[in-house]
Symmetry: D2
Subunit: 403 residues, 4 copies
Amino acid sequence: MDFSYDRRTLELRERLEEFMDRHVYPAEPVLAAQLADPARPRWEIPPVVADLRVEARKQGLWNLFLPGEHGAGLTNLQYAPLAEITGRSPHLAPPALNCAAPDTGNMELLAEFGTAEQRERWLEPLLDARIRSAFAMTEPEVASSDAANIATRIVRDGDEYVVDGRKWYISGAMNPDCRLLIVMGKTDPAAEPHRQQSMVLVPREAPGVTVRRGMTVFGYDDADHGGHAEVTFEDVRVPAGNLIGEEGAGFAIAQARLGPGRIHHCMRAIGIAERALELTCRRVLDRTAFGGPLADQGVIQDWIAESRVRIEQLRLLVLKTAWLMDTVGNRGAHTEIQAIKIATPRTVEWILDKAVQAHGAAGVSQDTPLAALWAFNRTIRIADGPDEVHKRSLARRELRRHR
Amino acid sequence: MDFSYDRRTLELRERLEEFMDRHVYPAEPVLAAQLADPARPRWEIPPVVADLRVEARKQGLWNLFLPGEHGAGLTNLQYAPLAEITGRSPHLAPPALNCAAPDTGNMELLAEFGTAEQRERWLEPLLDARIRSAFAMTEPEVASSDAANIATRIVRDGDEYVVDGRKWYISGAMNPDCRLLIVMGKTDPAAEPHRQQSMVLVPREAPGVTVRRGMTVFGYDDADHGGHAEVTFEDVRVPAGNLIGEEGAGFAIAQARLGPGRIHHCMRAIGIAERALELTCRRVLDRTAFGGPLADQGVIQDWIAESRVRIEQLRLLVLKTAWLMDTVGNRGAHTEIQAIKIATPRTVEWILDKAVQAHGAAGVSQDTPLAALWAFNRTIRIADGPDEVHKRSLARRELRRHR
Amino acid sequence: MDFSYDRRTLELRERLEEFMDRHVYPAEPVLAAQLADPARPRWEIPPVVADLRVEARKQGLWNLFLPGEHGAGLTNLQYAPLAEITGRSPHLAPPALNCAAPDTGNMELLAEFGTAEQRERWLEPLLDARIRSAFAMTEPEVASSDAANIATRIVRDGDEYVVDGRKWYISGAMNPDCRLLIVMGKTDPAAEPHRQQSMVLVPREAPGVTVRRGMTVFGYDDADHGGHAEVTFEDVRVPAGNLIGEEGAGFAIAQARLGPGRIHHCMRAIGIAERALELTCRRVLDRTAFGGPLADQGVIQDWIAESRVRIEQLRLLVLKTAWLMDTVGNRGAHTEIQAIKIATPRTVEWILDKAVQAHGAAGVSQDTPLAALWAFNRTIRIADGPDEVHKRSLARRELRRHR
Amino acid sequence: MDFSYDRRTLELRERLEEFMDRHVYPAEPVLAAQLADPARPRWEIPPVVADLRVEARKQGLWNLFLPGEHGAGLTNLQYAPLAEITGRSPHLAPPALNCAAPDTGNMELLAEFGTAEQRERWLEPLLDARIRSAFAMTEPEVASSDAANIATRIVRDGDEYVVDGRKWYISGAMNPDCRLLIVMGKTDPAAEPHRQQSMVLVPREAPGVTVRRGMTVFGYDDADHGGHAEVTFEDVRVPAGNLIGEEGAGFAIAQARLGPGRIHHCMRAIGIAERALELTCRRVLDRTAFGGPLADQGVIQDWIAESRVRIEQLRLLVLKTAWLMDTVGNRGAHTEIQAIKIATPRTVEWILDKAVQAHGAAGVSQDTPLAALWAFNRTIRIADGPDEVHKRSLARRELRRHR
């Protein structure tokens, strides 16, 4: 277990921190102003993001998330501390670096499972940030944590696949630049449970695709990163060549996509926690009540100490998981990936809750990033399998060792 | 300690439940549709509320919160179970019955401390719901939990008071029907800490009053009940007769206002918790994953049992507090009022969190009331004194018994 | 819901508090000295208990727990505040008043289900505290929370029942004065699950009964109240007339016995919590560190406030349950009895944990009652059905309302 | 950050695991039998420990804790996984390897700060396990977490120091083999707070030393490892050469002693947690209730998953701390040492609590190690500075970064 940062990581970290200081943090109030402008087309990505992208690319801070020839070629352990830094400004830094979900997962998926043709048509413009994409798995009508519940059908009809179904919380899909939907559905409901699903590439403009509305997350529409769409697919036809991998491989591909996605989320979430703790420390040093700074109050000191102790433990678990993924592969790191999926959002939620409390009314407002970060982080306890599903699975593996 | 519901309470409860079933619950989707209509003037109260008011008044379900001659004359113990019922649909039922904060607290204040003239000008239209009002205490620049921090100045100048300051989270003040701001500020910064503050009535249209923006609560602007305004007061002049009570009495009046306000919040919050638990039960009976209804999963049963056990304890504490307020007065019930202020929001938060989790993506969305209720409830841990201030005060009283 | 204390309760409470002050609290160091005496026969009840019994009886503070003609005839609501007071010195006050488990439950059982002959032989000396008794249900080999698991056999053989099995944690049975074991076993393993069990009265001196050892509870042997015995029954023969009720009624009788037993435990546990909080307050006012009394530290104030808020809620739930048992019967109060069984031990555990922490090393030692109370209270989360079983049952009932 | 185990660690780990399997685990029931023997002199170390020592020494598993020439010369990172393994049987393995507190800390102290003469007289027999020692810091009369409170006086009188004071919870000192007490007291109450204390070596047989009684820990007297003594020092005279270091250095030496002591505790505690989790898994696979093994119940699976996730995070933090101590020294690892002191006992407590609950009555009994481990682990939240003191200190350091 060697978590040391190598030379390349240290060099990139320095460059990234400078980029944050010079470009990203100063852009935060610009983003807020652009979002508050009532004249802005609601679902377009605010222009400040495009400006940052130009700058990031110039600095060589681009596609850092993507291993292999298509991206920066970093290992998980190299990427981890960089992702954490971007998490400190999660609305701006990840998209600025072309390292934001769901495009990251979709690019990984295309890079790993896409045909040459699929990669040329979709992966290249995504790598260039010329288009955006979405991943359509969750459905409103069923408990989507169980893949066997998926109701969307993908039926082969000659040279085409026909897609019918209803999806929601399709993040990014409200953004008019989102051109591609990767859709999960059932091609063979009679197969064994994990061979029923397949994945197809559906252009957003395909007839039968209707983006119906933006779903909200604790009141936020997340318009700055493409919202979360409810989308219906009615007799949508795509060429057979739009299938990813083979029929019946949908579940396996989804699992493969989720491993790196989960760890990226967790890395960034640690950055969120560090930012929250920093804001809290500054706030309580600054504000005074009942005869002294809030920082002198024992209960607030308790929050700060707890936050630090929890962050340290969390970061180490994420680093170990990254190291394991690099050394034994995603499958070998399965337990650890579940562990960080369980541990991260709740730890960060606790820290954000205390940060909100320490900020008083400002903490729930639009004047600090805390409430929006809380809402975003809260969804991670549900998204991509609720905690309870992961804990059950992890427990069963633990029990198996003692049978 | 007798918490039995008397005949009048039972009769009102029956009438109110019928009103909920026939009018309020069916109005919930109507409210959602009206709020989602982009053509609607953003800060106006949706028309469905006015319709409900007409009906509620017809049913004699009006101003139930207000003791004494001006209102329904109920005791706290009589009002408690009724307020709980309104909490089941907290965006509609309390305003429908003219029992919603902050107007309730303001009406109590005017009824108790207002002059005949003040009552005639402001209390009567409020009792009729012809106008709305707001209470301006919290300030963005200071830790407002300590009244000694208040920076707004109220300076006597001849026959007038001159108000200068900045307030925020002035709930209801975005609503154009809000005509009155009750403003807390310092008249004598040199007096002893709790005699420095005074309260004046400021018409919203007074020159120098600027309603600057709506503050958000975890992404919600709460436009359906008048939002939460940031308001500046620059050289605002009101007649000396607009003072409430006497100079220096502001802190004491605020405290008097807060007791009933707190218990009303807590009563309604129990209704919120009951609603959340009911929605959870229905959901988990309905949804299936991994071979059975979610309701069969041990962890979910644990949440349900915990929710029930916590609600029961909470309701009893609120009822005892109501009974104490009725029998020994608000001052005698001080410890208990603090106890429910501490215990209620966090208990309800826990229950809402589990309800969200059991609902998956729907739980954070606009399609169930859970996320909005969570956000509202979360603010109660901050509003009107954060938990930490109340706990410190309660602990000191406990310690005093053993000195 | 009327929890007011009536005249009789108030009168008994006053008398009991005087008894505590004059006799019980001063006896605590006497008990400690008697227990520490290496010459004392290990399992005999320390003589100070007998002395207190004489005094309690003289004061009319005797058998307060027992409703009906055989006891004091109090309702649950009348007994609740008295039991709470005895909980403040739980090693001395309950036995002093002949109100200690397991004799209380056994006396209730004999009073309700015993024949005249059984009552004469066993109930009368128990009511007089001339003998002690034990209740033998839990078994070491099985998960005893599921009555279907009971392995002990009770087989009819002519005019006798033959008992074979192994029981443990038979509280009180190490005490040589314990003359009676009420044994639960299966008479008909082929019957439906809740009709398989029966109960018989087994004199401790019956051939084949072997009291093997005292089980410990976190290091305590609880020798002062008869310990917790492991007992084997090998071909033990008792007359057929020793059956309680009828064959197959064992489960139902056990359930009937447990309702009042649970609420008595909970009532006393609140007394434990109050005592712990009182000791904590005194300690933190007295001890100084880092420039001031511990009582000035925010975290400790937080514990104190939390303790008070939690105790208040808990007591109300127990009172409501007592009132329900009195008005609608134990069966009608089933949910509430489970609720207090769930809520009480964990709440009291939390309070005791903080009390221990506030006392430092003294908190875990024999010099304060805290550690022993913690250990005793911890067992209540397991005894008489672990929390998890009760929560599951309570959740199912809640869910049933929404089917 | 490289936590990899090197060749030496791997080789020692293998040897230690074999020693555990062949000698230690089989000795656990032997220890239990020897402790239960009423004929055994109460405070002598059970003979099975001596037998194990012989074997451990033969295997080269001796004094592994001690860096430098006097011991095995392992780094903290090398020792960490070994200490964890010994924690799996914490009553036997650490003393078997001569790696048990408080002797370890005392040997470190003598190795680092002792004169040649002190080392010859005391360190050598300790390294050989011919004698045992104790560390006398905590006092019953004051909050010992604040070193400024220490009341014991050490007064220079000619060629001697005169010691007067009362100490308690002097672990190991009930053991007749304990020959040495390292005593902390004040030599100069007028000096600045952290220069008032000194440390002297006091032979247990020195006139004026009275070992008064064994203190208990949740009912356990811990006789198997020398108990916890209350000791008084009345006009105890030792030669001036018995001073450790210089006058006024007591606080600094104590701090130096505590760093490694804390991490050793934490390493072993992780072994305790692993053992508890293993016992739980086996138990719930074995026991059946309500139609299936306990292992199938969702709540129990939740405990198992949580335990695993928490252990992983904890171990990484301890390893990082060990690595830091090795690379930047104990002072540079100060924050991390506090963090593990805060995080470890509570995490292990949670896991033990669930293990107890999963075991039912057996969990609180003498038939599983769980209750005794719980009690021991609980004291770590108090010993060597309560959590609250460490959190306050850690928070202040965190805040300092943002001033």
